[in-house]
Structure formats: structure tokens, C-alpha cells
């Protein structure tokens, strides 16, 4: 069809965590500008399967930018060139025909490659498990309107709550820090009435777990904010640092 694109891909191929990987080059022809980036990869995989080759593994599920499953580097940028966009919501109309794109998995020591463009992000769950919650059992909840929350705090908390846990912040950071991810949850709950009782403990445990999992420290480059598909601002990291410091200095338990 006229108007369709020709794309050259250099894709990182790696069979398993413990095997060596390399870049392989593929040509994808007749790509509709209306396809998403992942649909373009579907098209390539369909061809590879019919040719008796092994399709490229990448993680994906909802394809609506909300589940956080997908993500890889396109020409060195997490989720590709468009701001505030997951790779599943990136459409081929953003690219010119004839372009060469280099696809790599998220790069971070804490995220081992499982296959091709797919990495293991289990450490992010372990950070959440280290206090990213309010300790409330079913049966204990007070009437929902018993605790009021002003719109200003509610709006700010919502910015942090929007995190989809994709790992782009880690992948884009030169230190492979998970600061923005961790800060988004700490910040959200620090702003909500229900998060107050465990506020100090949560900040201390989550930050320390992040370090134990092998993520680096923040050095204020702000790449994470630029890469975040939900555009979570870096001021959450500043707030996390304050929360952590006050937990360590002022709270008896820490």
C-alpha cells in the first residue's frame, strides 16, 4: 500500500539469561503507519514463523499503556522517542520510512535478561512488598468519607499513583536507579490520610530494599522523568529523600 513504511531493525537476540546475545538485523516492509510499534513486531514475527525462524520475544499485554508489561529501548530511549508514551501506544506514524531502529532490552543489573527484549522485573515487586501498602485488613475499614482529603493533595497523590511499574525509569537512568518508581509509591501514600501511621517505616524500608536489590542511587539527571510514560515528576524523588531522612533522623524505630 502506498504510504506504508520500510523499517530496518537491529534487535538484541538472547536465548536465555545465561547465554550470550547479539544484534540481528531485520527488514520489515509494508508497515502501516497506523500500526503500533508492537503490531509492527507482530508483523515481523509472523514472517519469521512462516520462514521457520524463531520470533522475537518481547513482553506485552494490555496494549493500552496501562498494565506496564511492555517496554524496551528504541535507539537508546526507553519506550522510544515520544514523551509520555509506552511502546505499545507508540505508533509507526512517528517514524519515517527507511529508518533504522536499534531495539535493546531494559539495561540494569537488577533486571536480568530472560530472553531477547524481555527482562525480569521481580525486584520491583519486592520493593512494593517492603511497605508499599497500608496495613488494613478487610473488615476494619471506616466509612469512606470519614477521612476527608483536599483536592490539592489528592491531585498530587494521583500523579504518583499513576505509576505502571514498567521499569523505564530504571532503564533510562545511568545509575539504573529505581528512585522514581519507589518515590511514586512513598509519595502517594505520604500524602494520603490512610498512609500516615506507617509513613516513616515505609520510606525507610522501601528505600533500603531498593538498594539491596542492586538498583543504583539517584544523581539528579532527570532522565527518569523524561522516559516515564506516565510523566511522574522528579519532585517525588526529592520528597522521598525528605521522607527517608526524617524517618532515619526523627523516628525512634529507625
Amino acid at each position: 500500500m502506498s504510504g506504508n513504511l520500510e523499517i530496518t531493525l537491529k534487535v538484541w537476540r538472547q536465548e536465555a539469561a545465561d547465554s550470550a546475545g547479539s544484534f540481528q538485523t531485520y527488514q520489515v516492509s509494508d508497515v502501516s503507519p497506523d500500526s503500533s510499534f508492537l503490531e509492527m513486531l507482530d508483523q515481523l514475527n509472523e514472517t519469521l514463523i512462516t520462514e521457520g525462524k524463531i520470533p522475537i520475544t518481547f513482553e506485552h499485554d494490555c496494549r493500552e499503556g496501562i498494565c506496564g508489561s511492555c517496554g524496551f529501548m528504541i535507539n537508546g530511549q526507553a519506550h522510544g522517542p515520544e514523551r509520555g508514551t509506552t511502546v505499545c501506544q507508540l505508533h509507526m506514524r512517528s517514524f519515517k520510512s527507511g529508518v533504522t531502529l536499534v531495539l535493546e532490552p531494559w539495561r540494569a543489573k537488577a533486571f536480568p535478561v530472560l530472553q531477547d527484549l524481555l527482562v525480569d522485573r521481580a525486584p520491583m515487586d519486592r520493593i512494593q512488598a517492603a511497605g508499599g501498602y497500608c496495613s488494613t485488613n478487610v473488615g476494619n475499614a471506616p466509612e469512606a468519607n470519614a477521612n476527608l482529603m483536599g483536592r490539592k493533595d489528592a491531585s498530587e497523590a494521583f500523579l504518583g499513583a499513576a505509576c505502571i511499574g514498567c521499569g523505564a525509569c530504571v532503564a533510562s537512568c545511568k545509575n539504573a536507579s529505581a528512585s522514581l518508581f519507589t518515590a511514586a509509591k512513598i509519595g502517594q501514600l505520604a500524602l494520603t490520610p490512610q498512609g500516615q501511621p506507617e509513613r516513616a517505616k515505609r520510606a525507610a524500608r522501601m528505600v533500603e530494599t531498593m538498594e539491596l536489590e542492586g538498583f543504583g542511587a539517584c544523581s539528579n539527571t532527570y532522565e527518569c522523568e523524561a522516559a516515564c510514560p506516565k510523566e511522574i515528576p522528579v519532585r517525588f524523588i526529592q520528597s522521598m529523600n525528605r521522607e527517608y531522612l526524617s524517618a532515619k533522623l526523627l523516628d525512634d524505630e529507625y
Binding site: 536465555a16 502501516s32 514463523i49 524463531i54 498494565c67 530472553q115 508499599g132 497500608c134 483536599g150 494521583f158
Partner: protein, 638 residues
């Protein structure tokens, strides 16, 4: 086989209270840790069930095929969750929510179940807020509401267009807390491929590790399936790519009855298909109909741009035909009318298969900022996918397969006919009848997991005192061997066609013959076609091997193999139900105005199907539905 719903009797509002107090038995706090409950799935139903059972003191194993429990497809729900809080002082009540839901479902659900759902809805909001779920709020700090289809009150709680995400992250946080406390063992990257039945009771599952390809069994005191719906049988749907019917279908093949599979919901407001490359369809939340007006040009094949068509030459057909509910009619009605408008040649867009959803008047009335606050992320998503700005030009929308009301048959206790096998959320058939009202799916998933299952499962454990069988028992070995043989057979075909090509062909056939509108002849030809396609699949599918232990194509192939079996049952059920109700529309059965025409004399029942073998005729078991508190009537939204 007789189906006992175990619904209590007596006054509607006392049934669940009396059932809890007088019928359901308890397990002592000290004994609970002796029992291991297996929960399959970590969406709203699975995460809430796993966390709540662990809070009560049971040992829980929760299984997900994702890398993290937070990825479950509940995350994608946009618009909201209903609860009869009456915060807007518009005379809402549990009875009204019950009544709206029964009527919205076209009188094909159990009164007892639906009332319970309405009753516990208020607790769900309290629970979510206590977890820190950031619902939308008013300036005074109280919770905000909006209106959804099929009702005349504002009872829908929401978090921008990300309500499912925020509720799931709430349930996920409770789950992660229990993992942190050592009471839940979370198994990620595991696909459930069979149920292990020991002495007639579900006692375990066969799992395939998606990273290594290895099979294992997980045994427990009982199994809870929270594995979601089957809309991906249509290939193009609003579901996530990996959503599937396999967990429930494998349980069905082990004896669990599948009820009302033909009750599928085609959601009216989705972004239309743009080409053959399309892998899924994207929903635009029903909440948009609060502000957007649906219209098509009055003249056929009007090629002008939307802005050039004056009001007098637009047909706001929902407002015209249904003046009371207008754009807020239930989903099945909105979808059918979009189809009628396009069938008449008034559709817009490249193939004439879309209608407009226009925000012009709302923007003029409230200002663009107000609309951005309410729907900003939805407008942004629309623009990303279509390249058009909906603040300036109307959205183009068309219906797409979305939710499935059918599922495994369960009694009032959410237990299937296979003892020890419980089913929650979209995976069961229980609460929505033949059409689900908007903002009720989140409500049901969480009602089941937080407030119903933890009580009813305790009763099963108290009655049965089930022991966890050895993982090397004969039943576990037999199930594992069966799974292995099926996978080996799939990989062994080494034909020419990709798994996706079969899935697409199945989906297109079903959408055409068993989608928004169905006929006897169409369904008969679809059944024959599915059988042929299934045979072709097993002789010509190509599952690539040799690229490492991880092999996503095997996962897909196993799911599509199940869809090819399940799809036939879907068609059989649609053929068998000689009436129209809710989302099941048979062209032979319609009123003069084109509305669904039920046959209450012959079809006031749930059809629960028994598996008798692939290529065999399934056996239907009927559960009669009784209406004591609501009189079934022709639904009117005029």
C-alpha cells in the same frame, strides 16, 4: 445432575445476613494455617481473595502467568465502580442498585446473588479508601461520583479514567503485604493448564513455568479460579493479549459446568479497527457518554466533515429513540443501535463502520479544562491511537467485544459443581445475567474476593476438613501426563501456519456469526467452520522450537487450542437459546422496534453445559431462575 443454587429464601435483604449467620460454618483461627488455598489469577477477584484469605490466617498460593500480579487485566478498566452509597442524595439504595442490575441484565441473573452484590458494594468503597486508593474527590474532600449507563442515579466512584488500575493496585498492595508477612506464596510466570481432581474434589493444579517450560503440580485444600473472561475468543477484543479461557476451560473438561457462554458483551464505545495489522481494540470508557453525544449524519453516505454538518442534519439517535436515558442507555442497547445506524449507511469513517461521540456541547458548556480533568487520559489515549484531537473533532467509535457474562457455573457460595473448585469475578457466570451494566465488573470482582468467598470457602473447609494430597499422587501424575501429551502434540504438528493466523480466523468467524447479532443459520455454519478450523489447526499449526526454554508461541498455541474448543460451545449455546436477551441478540426474536425479545416462558433459566468430549454434543443442564421481588418485563429505556 441437578443444579442446586443453594440460594437462601426469606426476605431479600436478610438472605446474605442469615446465610452467613446460620448456614456458613467457621474454621477456628488456629486451624486456618493448616489449609493451603490455591488462587489462580491476581486481578481484582484473585488479588482480593488471596489477600483476604491470608489475612484470615490461611496459607495461600497465588498464581499468575504475568511477571507480576499487578499486570492482571483488571488494571485496564477505566470508568468506575458502582456502590449504593447514596452520597449524591439522589434516593439511591441497595435495592435500587439490585433492581438496576437485574433489569440491566435483562432478567437472566439470580435475585439472591445480585442483591448480595448490591449490599456489599458499600463496603468495597470503604475498603479501597482504607488502602489509599485515590478516588476522585470534591473540593470539600469528599468522594465524587458520576453516572453510568442504564441508571438514573450517580453512584459510580472513579479515579480519572484509571479506576481499574487504582483498585487493582489497592488489592495488589494488600496482596504484597501478605507476601511480605509470609502468608501468600506468589508464583509468577506460571500458566495453569489443568485441575487435579482427587476423590471428586479439586485439590490442585498443573502449572507450566513460562521461563523454563517445566511442568509442576501445586496441591492444596481447594482451588479458586479468578482467571477472567473469554472475550479474546473473538481475536479482536478490548481484552489484553494474553487473556484467555484456558483455566476455566480445563476445569470444564474436568467436570465443571460452563454456564451461558453466549452472554457476551459488545461494548459500544471502542476505537474502530484501522487495518489488518490490528492486534486488539481499545475501549473508550462508557463514562464519556456522560458528556459526549452520540450521532450520525441524517443522510446516508454523507461525506462532509463532522463540523460541516449542521445540527439539523445530525441524527442524535439515542436521544431521539430513548429520551429518558438518552446517551446513557445500557451497553447492549447502545451497541445494537450503532450497528443499525451503520447498517442503514449512515456510519462514518473509512469503512462507514463508526459513529460520532461528540464533546462539542460539553466543552462549550463546561469549558475544555473541566473535560480534561474528567477524561484527560482517555482523550490522550484516543489521540495517540488515531492521530486525531477529540477536543476539536468528535471521536469515532464502534462496538467491540469486551466482557463476558457467561462463565463457570457456581452456586450462591461461588462453588462450582466440582466440589472444592470455587470461581470468582468474570470467570464465573453469576451476577450480570445477559448484559452487564457499566461499572459493575469491578464491583463484582471485589465483592467476590473481599466479602463473599472468604466466608463461603471457610464453610467448605469446615465441612470437609480437606487434606492436601501428595503432589505425587496418581491424579496429579495423570493430569501432568495429559498436559504434557497435549503440549507435545501441539509442538509436534510443525505445519505451515502461525498460531495467530488460526486465532484471527476463528475470531472473525465468531464476530461475524456470533457477535452483536446472531441467526440460526449463521450459528450452524459457524459451528461447522469452527470444527474444520480446529482440525486444520491440529494438522497445520507451526509452533517454533529451538530458541531457548522460554517459548511464548507454545503459551499462545495452548490458549488458541482451547479457544477452538470453547468457541464451538459458545455457538452451541447461542443456537440453543431461541430468544434475545441483553447481549445475546437473535435476529429471529426481536420486537417491532428492533429491541431484544425474551421468551420468559421457555428460557427463564441458566444453561449450564456439561463437557462430553471434543467433537461430541455437550449436555445442557438448566437452573430455573425465580423472580420474587422484581417482575420481569420488557426493558424500557425510553
Amino acid at each position: 445432575m441437578s443444579l442446586d443454587s443453594k440460594c437462601p429464601d426469606g426476605p431479600l435483604e436478610d438472605r446474605w445476613k442469615q446465610h452467613k449467620a446460620k448456614t456458613l460454618k467457621l474454621v477456628g483461627p488456629i486451624n486456618r494455617r493448616k489449609f493451603n488455598i490455591i488462587v489462580v489469577g491476581s486481578g481484582l477477584a484473585g488479588a482480593s481473595a488471596a489477600a483476604t484469605l491470608a489475612e484470615q490466617g490461611y496459607q495461600v498460593t497465588c498464581i499468575s502467568f504475568h511477571d507480576s500480579p499487578r499486570r492482571a487485566h483488571s488494571i485496564a478498566a477505566q470508568g468506575g465502580i458502582n456502590a449504593a452509597k447514596n452520597y449524591q442524595n439522589d434516593n439511591d439504595s441497595a435495592f435500587r442498585l439490585f433492581h438496576d442490575t437485574i433489569k440491566g441484565g435483562d432478567f437472566r441473573a439470580r435475585e439472591s446473588n445480585v442483591y448480595r452484590l448490591a449490599e456489599v458494594s458499600e463496603n468495597i468503597i470503604d475498603q479501597a479508601v482504607s488502602q489509599g486508593v485515590p478516588f476522585a474527590r470534591e473540593y470539600g474532600g469528599t468522594l465524587s461520583n458520576r453516572t453510568f449507563g442504564g441508571v438514573l442515579v450517580s453512584r459510580t466512584f472513579y479515579a480519572a479514567g484509571q479506576t481499574g488500575q487504582q483498585l487493582l493496585l489497592g488489592a495488589y498492595s494488600s496482596l504484597m503485604r501478605q507476601i511480605d508477612l509470609g502468608r501468600v506464596t506468589m508464583l509468577t510466570f506460571k500458566d495453569m493448564l489443568d485441575v487435579v481432581v482427587v476423590d471428586g474434589h479439586a485439590r490442585g493444579v498443573v502449572l507450566r513455568d513460562l521461563k523454563t517450560g517445566e511442568l509442576s503440580v501445586e496441591m492444596g485444600s481447594s482451588v479458586v479460579l479468578c482467571s477472567g473472561g473469554y472475550s479474546n475468543v473473538f481475536y479482536l477484543s478490548t481484552n489484553a493479549m494474553k487473556s484467555n479461557v484456558s483455566a476455566t476451560w480445563r476445569a470444564h473438561k474436568r467436570g465443571a459446568l460452563m454456564a451461558n457462554p453466549c452472554y457476551t458483551q459488545i461494548h459500544p464505545t471502542c476505537i474502530p479497527q484501522s487495518g489488518d495489522h490490528q492486534s486488539k481494540l481499545t475501549l473508550m470508557s462508557e463514562s464519556l457518554r456522560n458528556s459526549g453525544r452520540v450521532w450520525v449524519p441524517s443522510a446516508e453516505k454523507d461525506a462532509r466533515k463532522a463540523a460541516q454538518i449542521p445540527d439539523a442534519e445530525r441524527d442524535y439517535y439515542l436521544e431521539r429513540k430513548y429520551p429518558t436515558f438518552g446517551n446513557m442507555v445500557p451497553r447492549d442497547v447502545a451497541s445494537r443501535n450503532a450497528k443499525y445506524a451503520c447498517d442503514e449507511g449512515k456510519g462514518v469513517g473509512p469503512n462507514g463502520r463508526s459513529v460520532y461521540l461528540d464533546f462539542r456541547d460539553a466543552i462549550a458548556r463546561e469549558g475544555e479544562d473541566s473535560i480534561r480533568t474528567k477524561y484527560g487520559n482517555l482523550f490522550q489515549m484516543y489521540e495517540k491511537i488515531t492521530g486525531e484531537n477529540p477536543y476539536q473533532t468528535p471521536m469515532q467509535i464502534y462496538p467491540a467485544p469486551h466482557y463476558t457474562m457467561g462463565g463457570l457455573w457456581v452456586d450462591y457460595n461461588l462453588e462450582s459443581n466440582l466440589p472444592g473448585l470455587f470461581v470468582c469475578g468474570e470467570a464465573n457466570f453469576s451476577d450480570h445475567g445477559s448484559n452487564r451494566l457499566g461499572a459493575s465488573a469491578l464491583m463484582q470482582g471485589l465483592a467476590d474476593g473481599y466479602f463473599v468467598l472468604p466466608y463461603t470457602l471457610a464453610d467448605y473447609i469446615a465441612r470437609e476438613n480437606p487434606e492436601t494430597p501428595d503432589s505425587e499422587c496418581a491424579a496429579a501424575a495423570e493430569a501432568t501426563t495429559a498436559v504434557k501429551e497435549r503440549l507435545d502434540r501441539l509442538v509436534g504438528v510443525q505445519g505451515k501456519r502461525s498460531v495467530d493466523s488460526f486465532h484471527r480466523e476463528l475470531g472473525m468467524e465468531l464476530l461475524d456469526k456470533c457477535g452483536m447479532s446472531r441467526t440460526r443459520e449463521g450459528l450452524e455454519s459457524a459451528r461447522a467452520k469452527i470444527r474444520t478450523l480446529r482440525d486444520e489447526f491440529w494438522s497445520d499449526v507451526r509452533v517454533p522450537t529451538g530458541g531457548g526454554a522460554m517459548n511464548p508461541e507454545i503459551e499462545k498455541a495452548a490458549r488458541v487450542a482451547d479457544f477452538l474448543e470453547f468457541g464451538e460451545l459458545l455457538v452451541v449455546d447461542a443456537h440453543n437459546r431461541e430468544e434475545s436477551c441483553g447481549g445475546h441478540f437473535r435476529e429471529e426474536h426481536q420486537t417491532e422496534e428492533g429491541e431484544a425479545k425474551r421468551d420468559d416462558a421457555n428460557f427463564t433459566h441458566a444453561s449450564a453445559w456439561e463437557f462430553t468430549g471434543v467433537d461430541e454434543q455437550p449436555v445442557e443442564h438448566k437452573e430455573a431462575l425465580e423472580f420474587e421481588f422484581v417482575q420481569p418485563s420488557q426493558r424500557s429505556y425510553k
